[in-house]
Each structure stands twice: as C-alpha cells, then as structure tokens.
Symmetry: C2
Subunit: 291 residues, 2 copies
C-alpha cells in the first residue's frame, strides 16, 4: 500500500533543519536530542497533520511548525518511556536508546528539552491567528499532560487502569490516542474556519485511528521481528503488560483491528473532507503495516 | 525584613486549589505532583510575578494562572534535578524527595506532568489578549528549554560550561536566571502596554536578581543548616560542583552578593515602576535570606 511519502519527506527535511542549541556548551545535549529525533520512522503524527491540512484545502507546509512539534513530543515520550526506571529498553528505531548512547542524565534532559523546544517552536513559528495558535497549543498541552500522554504512561507503569477491555482501551486512549487525535484536531483549530460538527467528525476519525494504531502495535509486538520493528519484540510480554493480544488473543486482536479499520474509514468518509486521499492512505498503512 | 506575605498567601491558596487528574487511575500521580508542589517555600517566582504586576499598576490576581505555571515548572525542575541519575538528593523542602516517596518512574512522570499542566493552565486560563498570552508562553518555553533551564542543568551535570567566573555566571544565567527573568518579563508581555525600553530596564533588574539569588544560594549551601535549608547542606561540595564559593571563597562570594544586591536595587529604580515597594522587598529578602 502507498503512504504519503512526499509529506514524510517534507517533515524529514524540516526536522533535519531544526537546531536547538545556541552554544558549544550544550552541543552534546542537542546531539542527544537529534540522535533520537532523526532516527527515521514513518513520522505518522506529523504526516497525519499535514494530510489533515490537505484534506481541508489548506497548504500542508503551513502546518510544518506544528507537525514538527508533534514529532519532538513523540520523541521525548519515547526517550522517557525507554529509561531504566520505566520500560528499560535498550533498542529503539533500530539503534541503542538515548540513555544507552548518552547516559541516563542526558537522556532525561534530552526528553525535557525536546518537550520545551516543541512548545517554543509551535508558539513562535506557527503561522495563523494568535487565538487559533493559542487554542491549538492548549489542546496539545492537554493531550500530553495528566489527562493525556503522561497520564496514560502512568496508568501503564503503575498498572492502575481499570480491568478488562474498557480499561485497556482507556489506557491507550490517553497514552497514544490523545496525541494522535491532537495531530488532526489541532490542524482544524489552527485553521479556525471549520464548523464544530466537522471537528467532531474528524475527532471521531482520529480517535478510532488511535485505537487501530494501538491494536496493530500490540499485534506486531508479538508477530514482528526485532529487525522489522527496530526495537525488541516481545517486550510487552517481558514487562507483563496487558495488551489487546493478552486480552483477546492474536486472532481476537486481528478481528478487532479489522473492525477498527472499517470504523476509522467510515468516520473519515463521514467527515467528508475536501481531499481525503492521503488520510485514507495513512489509515490503510496503519492497519496493514509490518513495523 | 518583610516579604510580600499577602502575595505568597494568594499564590498558596491558588496552588492548593489546582487539580490535575480527572480520574481514579491517575490519582496517585496527582498525589506525587501535589506532594512536591505543596511542600511550602517562599514561592519566589510567582510572588515576583504578582509583585511585577502591582509595580506596573495591574491587578496582581489577574496574573495568577501565569504565576502558578511558574511554580509548577520550578517544582518539575526540582523533581528531575533530584533524581538518582542527576543530583541524587534525598531531601527537599524538608521532606523526602519525590522519587524517594513515590518511586523513580512516578517522579519522572510527575515532573513531565507538572510541565505539561503548567502550559495547559497558562494557555487555557490566563486572561489577556491572545497575542500577548502567546508571546508570554513562547518566552516561558524558551526560558525553560535548551537556551534556558534545561540547557543550564545540562551544563551543570555535564560540567561543560566554560571555565572561570564568566562560565559559572553563564551556567546559572541559564539554569536559574532565565526562569527568574521570565517571572518578570512575561508579566510585561501579558500586560502588553509597556514601552520596549521599560521592558529592557525590568529585564536588567530581573537578570541581576537571578545572579543575586544564585550567589546567595551558593553561600547558604556552605553556611546553612539542613534544618533551615530543608535539603542537605554541603551538597555542592559533595557533587564537586563549581559555585561562587569555590570560585571566589566565602568572603569573596559575600562581597559579590553585596555588589549584586546594589546593582539589582539600582536597576529596579531605573525601571521606575509605578509601585516598586514589593519588588524591593523581594530583592532584599533574596539578599538577606537564611534559607
């Protein structure tokens, strides 16, 4: 299946051109940040943001500062999740994790720095009316706080989500879902011209896309090879984590993925975007990816 | 000497009323965040922000969301600085540090969460014109990123600041100075009605106040007791850190503090604020404090 490689290439070039350090003393910190940021990957969140722009008839490149902020934040979350005190992972995106390569203290600060620079970049460089940028940045902060990414990661490490499928779904809605939804929603907020009903339709699509992403992620952790994943496979089992596979079995999880894929595609059609092509490509890629 | 206790009490009440978690699953994470946030302290940064508002004739309470964001961010930086991989401190504000009380994984996430909630709160609840809030939030992100707090902490843990007094001054300008300056500058940006020249004068004052704060901090680390400081004294020596005392001796550092105090007071007078009383009180407190 195809993937919007042109959008990915735009994101990649933009990320490569970003600089964070203004002096020699912090050059090594910047190196650690760029080491983790520029390790490749499909750039799903920023590509989703640019494709959403295209879908509503907005020039995708106008959303690059926001899109970059998404990837900076995603990278920060990976660095902190991989720390010895958290999931203690040694391999990520096919290379040693940040704390293995640069030390634990530098990795903590690289994560902290990426989060700060994400907001600095969004608040400084994103074009658009101030009120719209403010609204989008507030949503991004919320999506990455206690009611979003950080809260979801806490539910994960503390194993404090409610039992059963509903609890699992909720954990992932926070841990990965909110940021994926924000990748779509914030573009609509930045544009500022969409009807509230349209935003609801897009949010339904993006929420379902987040669910689909996680189910496939859990399946790949079992069926994927370390080479394809770029990280240790079977790490969920090693950490004793609840996943869609432990909860429903492999066949059950595949069935759920298929249903979620259908729902996401339907929700996208209901949003009736101007040009949905690339959003469908991303949806199909997430459903059928092998890594 | 007096301190603007009325402003501190306002800040304290406001911080106590803040809630971060919307559900039972993350209640313990919120508990860790509030444990570190509500451990007392002089609340220098938020009080400085409110006193700056009063100094330019703006109602201080209108700046409470921004002031709270400052203290959330300061608390996050303390939690991460205290981690075993960083300064490895067991005691802070007179009680066990966050990772000692809640575990290292929860402490990392409590810090991450406080930082996110700071921006969420500022971007959502701070009154003012959108363009002004945006400008202040961008400055706050910059002050806490690689060219500010995180970069300064990196210079500290990696011992990569240039040698000599200039390097030491630069390290602290990033690590603590930028956030102290932002406590003043962002209030002017939020107000939006000050002349650029006035902002420069206030920034000169706030920069010098940051220097003064750090010199006195270094002196107290040597001369203060654990009881008064609420953290282990002598920790700079234990960690082999360069300080104003190691660089200039105790008497030399005291002389520098006196000079810095005079410069800060002069700079404040040059800024010619409408009502400078509380800013002078804070400056004197920082110079003469015993903890």
């Amino acid at each position: 299946m195809s993937y919007p490689e042109d959008l990915r290439a735009q994101v990649e070039r933009y990320l490569e051109a970003l600089r964070f350090s203004e002096e020699a003393g912090t050059a090594k910190l910047e190196e650690a940040m760029r080491y983790s940021l520029l390790a490749g990957g499909k750039r799903v969140r920023p590509v989703l943001a640019l494709a959403t722009a295209a879908a509503i008839g907005v020039e995708p490149s106008s959303m690059l500062p926001f899109a970059a902020a998404l990837e900076l934040i995603h990278t920060y979350s990976l660095i902190h999740d991989d720390l010895p005190a958290m999931d203690d992972d040694d391999l990520r995106r096919g290379r040693p994790t940040c704390h293995v390569a640069f030390g634990e203290d530098v990795a903590i600060l690289a994560g902290d720095g990426l989060y700060a620079e994400a907001f600095k970049h969004l608040l400084t460089d994103q074009p658009g009316e101030s009120a719209n940028v403010l609204r989008a940045a507030a949503e991004l902060a919320s999506a990455t706080g206690v009611s979003g990414m950080v809260g979801g990661q806490y539910l994960d490490v503390a194993a404090s989500a409610p039992a059963g499928a509903e609890g699992l779904r909720h954990l992932h809605a926070l841990k990965t879902g909110r940021l994926i939804r924000a990748s779509v929603e914030c573009v609509l907020l930045l544009d500022g011209s969409q009807e509230p009903a349209t935003i609801v339709y897009f949010n339904n699509f993006a929420s379902e896309l987040g669910v689909l992403f996680q189910i496939v992620d859990d399946i790949l952790d079992v069926t994927g090879s370390q080479e394809a994943l770029g990280k240790a496979s079977g790490s969920d089992e090693r950490l004793g984590k609840r996943t869609y596979v432990t909860e429903f079995g492999l066949d059950g999880a595949r069935k759920l993925a298929k249903e979620s894929h259908a729902r996401a595609s339907d929700a996208l059609n209901s949003a009736a975007p101007h040009d949905p092509g690339q959003l469908h490509q991303i949806t199909d890629f997430i459903a059928y990816r092998s890594h």
